[in-house]
């Protein structure tokens, strides 16, 4: 039996209002992407618009539907190429970042060594500086010294290193919750450190690995500033840099921009949906107690 509470109505109205404010820009991007044109105004207003025609103009709903923007972004622009660049960089970053974060976090969680606490603290401190602060030093190291400008690997190194501190904290926190008894039991069963790490610990840490992987992937996939500095040649652009190209100084192709934005966000959404099944707690249930 549900008792009607009138106050809930107002609460829901307020929440709906907030939701609208939040998704309004997203809806605009969608509307622009599917409008088939390049201008931000997606409605043809008459010279002397009435009140309702003005209201219609701010609704994120295009007058004509078309997938022209999507097909053109893919065929006439080099957006496919840029998406591929982004994918390569992001996947390499994810692989490298997750592997290094897992191994480092396991060491921080299980071993006692000099500098252990300081190390964790340094990771935390590194997160306190804004990324742009590191732009110039990184440019000097990656482009000038290592000569890795305009390469995938230059970006991968930078993205992985910036993502690792958060990932290590994340993974260490999770490793700490895995009972040491399980490992000791495996030691007595005859397992080596490597076996324990790969066959016992990592399978149990799937939820944390999923989060870490998602975070690493998004760090690399969405990053704009470093990529725009390091990738000078148009063929090497990543997707976010490419998007900026549509609405640069010379052009205002808002339709391409919107369609590109939708395409860029799709992999992250899909990745999230895929990883969701690992984001469950209680993987260690049944082991102890």
């Amino acid at each position: 039996m549900v008792r009607r509470e009138p106050s809930h109505l107002w609460m829901h109205l307020a929440l709906i209002a907030f939701v609208l404010v939040t998704i309004y820009p997203v809806l605009w991007v969608l509307a622009l992407a599917f409008s088939g044109q390049q201008s931000v105004g997606i409605i043809d207003l008459p010279a002397d618009p009435s009140f309702f025609e003005r209201l219609r103009a701010i609704l994120p709903f295009p007058e004509h539907f078309s997938v022209k923007n999507f097909t053109e972004v893919w065929t006439e622009q080099s957006f496919g190429r840029w998406m591929l660049n982004s994918a390569v960089v992001s996947l390499l970053t994810t692989g490298l970042g997750v592997f290094l974060a897992c191994t480092a976090a396991y060491a921080f969680s299980r071993f006692r060594f000099p500098g252990r606490n300081q190390g964790m603290l340094l990771f935390l401190v590194s997160q306190m500086f804004p990324g742009t602060l590191m732009l110039i030093p990184l440019f000097i190291i990656i482009v000038k010294w290592l000569g890795l400008g305009n390469t995938y690997f230059g970006l991968v190194i930078v993205y992985a290193t910036t993502a690792i501190p958060f990932c290590v904290w994340m993974m260490k926190g999770y490793f700490d919750t895995i009972p040491i008894d399980i490992e000791e039991s495996a030691v007595i069963d005859g397992a080596s450190r490597q076996t324990i790490f790969f066959r016992i610990i990592l399978p149990l840490a799937k939820p944390a690995i999923a989060i870490t992987a998602l975070f690493s992937f998004m760090t690399a996939w969405n990053e704009f500033i470093l990529a725009s500095v390091f990738m000078e040649a148009e063929a090497n652009y990543t997707a976010p840099v490419g998007l900026r190209f549509f609405v640069g100084g010379f052009s205002a192709q808002w339709g391409y921009f919107a369609a590109g934005s939708v395409l860029v966000s799709l992999p992250v959404v899909l990745l999230f949906l895929y990883l969701q099944k690992y984001l469950i707690s209680g993987l260690t249930a049944g082991s102890v107690k």
Partner: protein, 372 residues
Amino acid sequence: MAAIEFERVSKRYGDVEIIRNLNFGVKAGEFMVFVGPSGCGKSTTLRMIAGLETITGGNLSIGDRVVNDVHPKDRDIAMVFQSYALYPHMTVYDNIAFGLKIRKMPDAEVRKRVGEAAAILGLEPLLERKPKALSGGQRQRVALGRAIVRNPSVFLFDEPLSNLDAELRVQMRSEISQLQRRLSTTTVYVTHDQIEAMTMGHRIAVMRPLQADQPEASNLMQCGTPMELYDTPANVFVARFIGTPRMNMLPARIADDGSTVQLFDLNLPVSAQFAEVARNQRGRPVLLGIRSEHVGLAHEVDWNGTVAIEGTAEMVEPLGHEVIVHLMVNGENLIGRQRSHAGLPQPGDPYRMVINCEAMHLFDPATELRLQ
């Protein structure tokens, strides 16, 4: 099967000494129980046998081999943890088979061995389940299966039953005992529960936390069969640790002629066992230990040599088959037992019971050692 030998074994963490001068052995095929209050070092000692803790001093041998620096996996031991420590992402089958697969045993042999272990423990219908779909007792059996499948020369148990409910604990207690008797594998079993110790072990090692005022004393208080510990406790600690309720421990004195023990205003004839001791200790103070089952009602018992003792009833605990009576005598607590629960005293009533003098234990009040 292998014997385990401790030779002056010690363990310290930094400045904190946990284990000191441990000297004793576990015979091949024996079921040895380590028992003691928390902090007595029993689990640490077990973990040293397993190789999960390093040894600070002395030698530990398994079989003919000193294993101080031998890796756990090369010690040919299996261990059952208090928490079971199953691999939660693996099925029961894989949990049991893990140790065999790691050692690169052929698949057919693994299947055969896991099948045998599962049959012994009644796990056959559960082999495809994950640990979280099992009850506490079933998980405990999987942990046992993981130990026996490797056919090791030593089993180690670290308080394996403390997470189970009372009924299951009794059942698993006998299952583990029977399993050990059947396999005849040398076993070391740690518990803080003296009933587990008394019922399961061939021999029991009673341990105590190190005492600041006894810089030479070891953790090991006594090692012997359950009945040895019960009938001839080597010191006050063992006397009071083994047996429920605790043994009564009363200040007394050997009479000047050495034939009686003077307890308050009573004269208890010295038992034959202590006759010589009493002659040597004339006029000296002693601690008189007497178990509660040797303090009873005159008309219920037929002991030779009883002495009546009068006190005030403090607390009366009827258990059904018997009644535990706490008496206050001259400011000392004396616990006795009686069968009849008719006409029980109220707290504060004067009450009269008798002591079985033949069953007395005498200890030195200074060293707390049994007089002999």
